[in-house]
Symmetry: C3
Subunit: 112 residues, 3 copies
Amino acid sequence: MQTVVHLVSGDETEQQTALAIAENLLADESGDIDDVAIVVQAGGIEAVTAGGDAADDVRHLLEDGVPVKACSNTLEMEGLEASDLVDGVETVPEGAVEVTRLQDEGYAYVRP
Amino acid sequence: MQTVVHLVSGDETEQQTALAIAENLLADESGDIDDVAIVVQAGGIEAVTAGGDAADDVRHLLEDGVPVKACSNTLEMEGLEASDLVDGVETVPEGAVEVTRLQDEGYAYVRP
Amino acid sequence: MQTVVHLVSGDETEQQTALAIAENLLADESGDIDDVAIVVQAGGIEAVTAGGDAADDVRHLLEDGVPVKACSNTLEMEGLEASDLVDGVETVPEGAVEVTRLQDEGYAYVRP
């Protein structure tokens, strides 16, 4: 099974929950979770900036092989560049399209 | 691919994000998104009232062919009539049932 | 059709909405909803504690046959025991894994 975590909230607690849930999905001992992806957009983008409070958690997830995909529409709206994000974070044209694509491929959706 | 956007939050920023994401899904240049629908309930209902701050954004989505479906249970709880909503917003008996039906038909789910 | 309601928010209004939506799914007169489940984790856990404000609503849902599944990772992080929860609430190792499993079995996902 596969899961996409949608990091879309500007609330710091919800952002921390999203990252923790991604870690817990990875750590799941049932062995039923094959892949986890994180799609970041809107208020959630702050959580994946290189200078953000959650940057170390994001690095840890990237090191564990979780793709972190940031929405280019959000970057543009927030006046951010891809280079402002934690190294290794990818960009996609639109977060919700990526979330749709992943669900279409069979990923379950979780929005903490 | 098809996507249902669930406009369920009473938070104005999350409401604006939901409407913007629906627009972005429509505008997606990959051509992979065939249909977008919005289901509105609970705290989200304010966003689709005729006098609400987001009314123009809702009209724009309706003009672009996005069905906007408001939960009748929410209208009743909030003492609202269908006539209080932006012209063209439909009603459904229960928003979460509609969201379930759309997912059952193959729509991906996005909750901004 | 089947629906899983994800009770993951620490916001009391969103918690009440989640429980009300579960009731509304059950009460749906179309007869299209066969099963409803609630998965509780992160900030949502307060809503299913025996002493919480929503305890009576949770009992009512359990009496109506809705399984309520609390995340053990959350219990541990919050220093709670299963015995602190409303009688009848089950535990699962990780809420997001359970949400993934239910979607994999065909449940639609709703995150109020």
